[in-house]
Amino acid sequence: MPRPYGWHANLPHPTDCGRQLSALDRAMPAWPVLSRLWRRRKRREPVPWLGPGIFLGGLVPLGYVTVRAIQGQLNANPIAQIENELGLSALVFLLASLACTPARRFLGWTWPMRIRRQLGLFAFFYATLHFLTYLVLDQFFDWDAILADIAERPFITVGFAALVILTPIAVTSTNGWVRRLGYQRWLRLHQLVYVAGGLAVLHFIWRVKIDVSQPLTYAFILGVLLGVRLLWWWSRKAEAHR
């Protein structure tokens, strides 16, 4: 007579269940450890999976272009395609990091603020890879040509300037650097990202041969994100005057 509940509720359990453990079950001893890590993260981070998720997702453009490059699935000019995709990834991350504060103020979301630093670092990561592709794959360390490009071609000048601006911002992105610089000075430095965003979009617009619809879309998004900040700044000034 089958018991209605308990171990033998529905199926007689084979006595040799130990040998039928799945791979997941055999990995069981790791779970309490991993679970404790999750819980420790959770004390600081109410949404412990958000950061790791963005980290994995952020690597997708790099992984996708790498896989296609290895399999020979890029187009006839793979170096240009790698350059373009990495550069566009950098711009997308830069705009995403600039969208975090408006998202909090307009939508009341707090989770974007928790990944803002990560988004900004991804922007720097992809901007660096974009530049390295230009340096190594495109020009192959032809320093004369590179210096001429930076000095004489405005679109390369502004793109390079954006990377130069992003570098100290990325380096000082840690909590330790906020303390070392003092919040006000740190903030002033990090507000340079607005300039970098403008230069990056300009770099994109000037690079395109004729159809600027795609770069202008990004320019419009950047304009909105910077425009709301300008409005806040004005209204803060107006309040201070009252």
Binding site: S35, L50, L56, A76, V92, I210
Partner: protein, 330 residues
């Protein structure tokens, strides 16, 4: 009789704290992967280029994979450099009538109907007429020409064209004394050319040559590639090839030739007069205002190579520009 198997030993039963930690771990892992999928998917949609649709892939698979032209059979105009693969020549195109991305023409050009097709001959010629493409193809013996092709975007290919010299056609049309330039026009058919539904350029595409440039023995009307008919994305059924000029001068899908005494206003010249002039001669010393023309990337090669004046065809064409300021010939 109704015996149940014995309870498993307690050592086989998952302790509750492990059971709970496993759930927590799995839940967090699932959320992590979900976030990664959403973020990664969004990035791919914005950044990654979609692979060509099945139709284009199928067409590509069916396409002939011809052999390069035999080096021993090379003529005096042919280059013996490694010929760019048929696949690269037919999948990496600038043909804005089908979209601005390099992959757009191969994706979209299959919708173009190239028969019936006529070419209108207008202006300063003895016999203005409308020529059917099939009559035209029967009128001239086709020859192979292996030419370098240098794009204004600083990449290049080596392409074995098949066609006939434009001079042969022009001679038969008997231009009058007023004919100093030839203006070419591309088909305008937005329903089959999706790029023409957007105001990317001032459609239809117009190009032009001075009459002596058009009569130069290098100037070719191409109707084929690797000994096979021209694919739509490369300009079927007929296109212009002017190897000492940037690729944008090689107008595709020609439906009209007009002989005139005034320099035609070409499409790129009109769109950006500071960047594209009438001549478009390849010149490493005259940079595009936004990028260098000193070097180029040959498709299929890693290192950049130096760009040659007149794309290496100076012996045949330089005499046409004596006394002219090379800086005005961009």
């Amino acid at each position: 009789m109704n015996q149940l198997p014995p309870e498993p030993p307690s050592s086989e039963v998952t302790p509750q704290h492990l059971y709970l930690s496993r759930r927590e771990f799995m839940r967090n892992s699932a959320f992590t992967l979900g976030t990664a999928a959403v973020a990664g998917g969004g990035l791919l949609a914005l950044v990654g280029n979609a692979p060509p649709p099945d139709q284009a892939q199928a067409a590509e698979a069916e396409a002939p994979q011809p052999e390069p032209k035999d080096v021993a059979a090379l003529g005096r105009f042919d280059t013996d450099e490694t010929q760019t693969s048929y696949r690269d020549i037919t999948t990496y195109n600038n043909y804005y009538e089908f979209g601005v991305q390099k992959e757009d023409p191969v994706r979209n050009a299959h919708a173009l109907r190239t028969r019936p097709w006529t070419i209108q001959i207008q202006g300063a010629v003895a016999k203005p007429q409308t020529i059917d493409i099939d009559d035209l193809l029967k009128s001239f013996p086709l020859e192979d020409r292996v030419y370098r092709m240098r794009c204004v975007e600083a990449w290049s290919m080596v392409i074995p064209w098949m066609g006939f010299p434009l001079a042969d056609l022009i001679q038969r049309l008997e231009p009058t004394g007023d004919a100093r330039f030839v203006e070419f026009t591309t088909l305008s058919r937005p329903e089959e050319m999706p790029g023409q539904r957007q105001p990317i350029l001032d459609w239809p595409y117009v190009e032009g040559l001075r009459l002596d440039e058009a009569m130069n023995p290098l100037t070719l009307i191409a109707v084929g590639l690797y000994g096979t008919p021209l694919p739509n994305q490369n300009g079927a059924p007929l296109r212009l090839v002017v190897p000492w000029k940037y690729g944008l001068k090689g107008i595709k899908g020609i439906v009209k030739m007009r002989f005139t005494d005034k320099q035609p206003l070409t499409t790129w010249n009109r769109a950006a007069p500071r960047e594209y002039g009438f001549y478009g001669n390849v010149n490493p010393d005259v940079n595009h205002p936004r990028w260098s023309q000193a070097t180029e990337r040959r498709i299929g090669e890693f290192a950049r190579r130096k760009t040659l004046p007149f794309n290496g065809y100076g012996d045949w064409v330089a005499h046409m520009y004596t006394g002219m300021d090379p800086r005005t010939l961009f």
